[in-house]
């Protein structure tokens, strides 16, 4: 893109409005020429970030950042015109004027500090799920994005799916009557797939040398210092308390998303978790092999209170009576137990949503589509954000939505930390009213030199 006067004007708009004028009226999308592109930077581009960037490759990918250039080499190569960096702070300083929007796909523990820095600079942000590592971080990010009026999207791509909207419409249509109970499950953390095979272990004692191209201190970011070990990076950080958010943090933002949205769940009143056992030095380090987390939500408008139960590690809820005996439960999914029937769906945005049994599904007269669909469904999730950056109308899972969804998920993660205790939740004051021990996890201390 040339630095013509036009494009600068355009960029001033798409950069968001950070602290600019309250009275700003968004220029309707059609004002932008069809050929005008967003200037996007990527932070954490070796794994999921590469795929997020790919979905936006019709835009200008202007800068790429990764603490491990070797791991990101493929992505760097794919965008030869993009400037590359190891430290996102340096990139944001140097490229500030050239970047409209940022895609962040780093480990969970660094989401918040990076996301906040981008928002402060008025950048639009696409941030992987879960939104952050602690509830305090999620809330701070959500509020900051709101104030800065930047366009945001959390990376729960299923939220853009058609199935998600269909489920919402069925619930509005009272297809199964009031829903009082939801069961959800995931085969993670041991799905048998390499990317989900979380370690269950004490902290490694060996201290192998840091690979030459990896900036370990930056990878650690705000987390408490520990020596490098290959178990953490690039994949297995998800299984460690200090870096990831376990199976629930990873998959909950996908699998609990439909219930959170269609049932307008909001904040739970209480939550309790049980988990598999480990010896203390293991339990202090990594997430358990399996857990059951139970949430209780109060009534919302005309909707009755809901109990939501999460199973992971391949545990499953009891099969509902309506399910045909030979019909398998999916590897990931959820059940809505209504007074008049049952809905079952899979992962990533109510995939394969059905009323069960199948005879009832076939007999159901589906309501007319009342919600607009996202272009290309889940596959269009990133582009929905690009669209938002250009036309100023929020993306499908902006932080206004993704924030509270992540808070709910992370409260369950907290319950796993403090297992076998029914936690009473005061969302306004962000406080577990019956556990002071919870505070350190709601708002963990950052390593010196790091702030939100």
């Amino acid at each position: 893109m040339t630095d013509s006067k036009d494009s600068i004007t355009r960029r001033t708009f798409v950069r968001g409005t950070a602290g600019v004028m309250a009275g700003l009226t968004f220029v309707p999308g059609h004002v932008l020429g069809a050929n005008e592109r967003l200037n996007i930077a990527g932070i954490g581009v070796g794994g999921m970030g590469a795929s997020n960037l790919n979905a936006c490759s019709a835009e200008n990918i202007v800068a790429l950042c990764d603490v491990h250039p070797k791991h990101a080499a493929g992505t760097f190569k794919k965008y030869p015109n993009a400037k590359t960096y190891g430290d996102y702070r340096v990139m944001l300083d140097k490229e500030d004027k050239n970047i409209d929007a940022v895609i962040i796909a780093t480990p969970d523990h660094t989401h918040a500090v990076i996301g906040m820095e981008c928002i402060r600079r008025g950048k639009h942000v696409y941030l992987q799920k879960p939104l952050a590592h602690s509830i305090h971080e999620v809330r701070t990010l959500t509020e900051a994005a709101r104030k800065a009026k930047v366009q945001t999207q959390m990376g729960n791509q299923g939220h853009s799916s058609d199935a998600m909207r269909m489920l919402y419409e069925w619930i509005q249509d009272d297809a199964i009557g009031p829903v009082r109970e939801v069961f959800a499950w995931s085969d993670r953390p041991v799905g048998g797939d390499p990317w989900s095979d979380f370690p269950i272990m004490a902290r490694p004692k060996e201290t192998p040398p840091v690979p030459e191209t990896l900036e370990w201190d930056l990878w650690l970011g705000p987390a408490k210092y520990r020596p490098y070990h290959p178990i953490y990076h690039p994949m297995s950080w998800r299984g460690f308390w200090d870096f990831g958010t376990g199976a629930l943090g990873d998959m909950g933002c996908h699998i609990l998303d439909p219930a959170f949205w269609a049932l307008n769940l909001g904040h739970p009143e209480r939550v309790e978790a049980v988990t598999t056992h480990c010896i203390p030095e293991v339990a202090a380090e990594t997430y358990p092999r399996a857990s059951i987390v139970r949430y209780e939500f109060p009534a919302r408008g005309s909707m009755p209170p809901v109990k939501l139960t999460w199973f992971d590690g391949r545990l499953l809820p009891p099969r509902p009576k309506d399910l045909e005996p030979t019909r398998k439960l999916g590897t990931n999914g959820a059940l809505f137990m209504g007074d008049k029937g049952t809905i079952m769906h899979g992962s990533h945005g109510a995939g394969g949503v059905r009323i069960i049994p199948e005879v009832k599904m076939k007999a159901y007269k589906r309501p007319a589509k009342s919600l607009p669909r996202v272009k290309d469904g889940s596959g269009g999730h990133e582009r929905d954000w690009v669209r938002a950056c250009k036309d100023g109308k929020p993306a499908s899972s902006s932080f206004e939505y993704g924030g509270p969804l992540t808070e709910m998920v992370l409260l369950g993660v907290l319950a796993m930390r403090l297992k076998n205790t029914m936690l009473e939740w005061d969302p306004v004051n962000m406080k577990v009213t019956n556990s002071d021990e919870a505070d350190q996890y709601l708002r963990p201390a950052f390593r010196e030199g790091w702030t939100l």
Partner: protein, 437 residues
């Protein structure tokens, strides 16, 4: 002495045919041989020392040394088959307290000789074995008892009487949970969810490894199996459900007058072909029984448990092991109605069941012609063990997710899973060459 006279066509030879003296009168002592003499066997035998302990058998004489010293006059064996051959005329009753995979063959050998049998829980390793053993005991008419001591307790009776009194109405769901295996994959209590060791340490001098293996497929000795840790291995043990299920499902089985379930569905953490999972959840469905409504029984282990009931007052422990009955007129946690105020108002149910003189005494009295013990094989333990072992089948690693994501329909009378034919092969395992039931 075996009450084995009335046996129909069964090929057991009753002792009096061999010139024995008929039932041992209550005033006389019975002669007991034990298969297994360390660990749980020692603890069982200490409860039977009112009788004569005449022979002790253990594949590991180091493990048995305590009992050998305690009963210096008892003759010592390594191979129970040899012991039963040589001591046939000298013994009335046999205690079987060895790893699960050997329960059926050892107990059956004793029953075939008309001996009374006390066998540790779970009765057997496979559903098929439990059924055949219970049937053999019935035909032989011998006195039997499975080692689930809790069946003789006051709590078990209280639980039954409260339910039968209608204190919580019709029970539609009952939950039972245990925190075992206590340390998951970490090798502290017994490990589950781990793979087969590759090292081949030498077999201890004191141990007859081939006899320890018995019916199980050949594999090298390793201390991860013996002593004690065999419980977590599919080839030898029956996991948390087999171990604790027979204890904790027992009172539920009695209170709700359960029999064969109509279905079972299990799920668990990732399993391998070697060890039981780190955690599991199994649900059984039972049809109406007499005037009792259909009921679902939910099992949890590995730290999992059902939701804490609202009626349980704040500050009261929601234990890591427990039983919760949910009826259409209330809930009962262990033997107490919820909330506690209801229990206080209720007091005690009318007594409907006789109290036990003690779990071991029950069996000894039965051996001497008294009434059948509370957990005898034909009327109770066989069915209870089949139920527990069917739960393990629903986690069968060879069937992987096919089995854990499906509800298995169970025809108890025909001993058949009707909707997944290939699952039926796991009702009965193959024995190593040289071993038969």
């Amino acid at each position: 002495m075996g009450a084995a006279a009335a046996i129909g066509a069964f090929t057991v030879v009753p002792r009096h045919v061999l010139g024995g003296a008929g039932n041992t009168p209550p005033s006389e002592k019975i002669n007991i041989a034990s298969i297994g003499a360390g660990g749980q066997a020692a603890s069982d035998l200490r409860q039977m020392e009112s009788e004569n302990i005449v022979a002790l058998c253990d594949v590991d004489w180091a493990r048995a040394s305590g009992m050998f010293r305690r009963h210096p006059d008892a003759r010592k064996y390594r191979d129970y088959r040899e012991m039963l051959d040589k001591e046939d005329k000298n013994i009335d009753a046999v205690v079987v307290a060895i790893p699960d995979h050997m329960h059926a063959v050892a107990s059956m050998a004793a029953i075939k000789r008309g001996k009374h049998v006390y066998c540790e829980k779970p009765l057997t390793h496979d559903v098929y074995e439990a059924r055949v053993l219970a049937e053999a005991a019935r035909k032989a008419g011998v006195a039997t008892q499975m080692g689930n001591q809790g069946q003789a307790s006051e709590q078990t009776r209280l639980m039954c009487e409260t339910i039968w009194d209608g204190a919580i109405g019709q029970v539609h769901d009952v939950h039972v949970w245990t925190d075992r295996p206590l340390r998951g994959i970490n090798d502290v209590y017994w490990p589950q969810g781990v793979g087969r060791p590759t090292e081949k340490p030498a077999v201890p001098d004191t141990m007859a490894w081939d006899l320890w293996l018995g019916t199980a497929p050949e594999r090298p000795y390793h201390p991860s199996y013996a002593p004690f840790k065999w419980r977590g291995w599919w080839d030898f043990g029956t996991g948390a459900l087999g171990d604790i299920g027979c204890h904790r499902i027992d009172p539920i089985f009695r209170a709700l007058k359960l029999g064969h379930p109509t279905s079972v569905e299990g799920c668990c953490t990732l399993v391998n072909n070697e060890t039981y999972p780190v955690a599991s959840r199994v649900t059984y469905e039972f049809p109406a029984r007499g005037n009792m409504a259909p009921v679902r029984l939910h099992w949890y282990d590995g730290g999992m448990k059902p939701p804490r009931p609202k009626e349980l007052a704040d500050g009261r422990t929601w234990s890591t092991n427990g039983i919760l009955f949910e009826g259409d007129e209330g809930k009962m946690y262990e033997t107490r109605l919820l909330p506690e105020s209801r229990q206080t108002a209720y007091g005690k149910p009318p007594q409907m069941l006789e109290r036990s003189p003690g779990h071991y005494v029950e069996w000894i009295q039965a051996c001497k012609g008294g009434k059948p013990a509370g957990s005898n094989f034909p009327d109770h333990a066989g069915l209870l063990a089949q139920l527990v072992l069917l739960g393990n089948l629903s986690l069968q690693p060879a069937l992987k997710e096919k089995v854990t994501r499906t509800r298995l329909l169970w025809d108890g009378d025909a001993m058949k899973i009707t909707n997944m034919p290939e699952a039926n092969q796991y009702l009965r395992r193959e024995y190593r060459k040289g071993w038969t039931l």
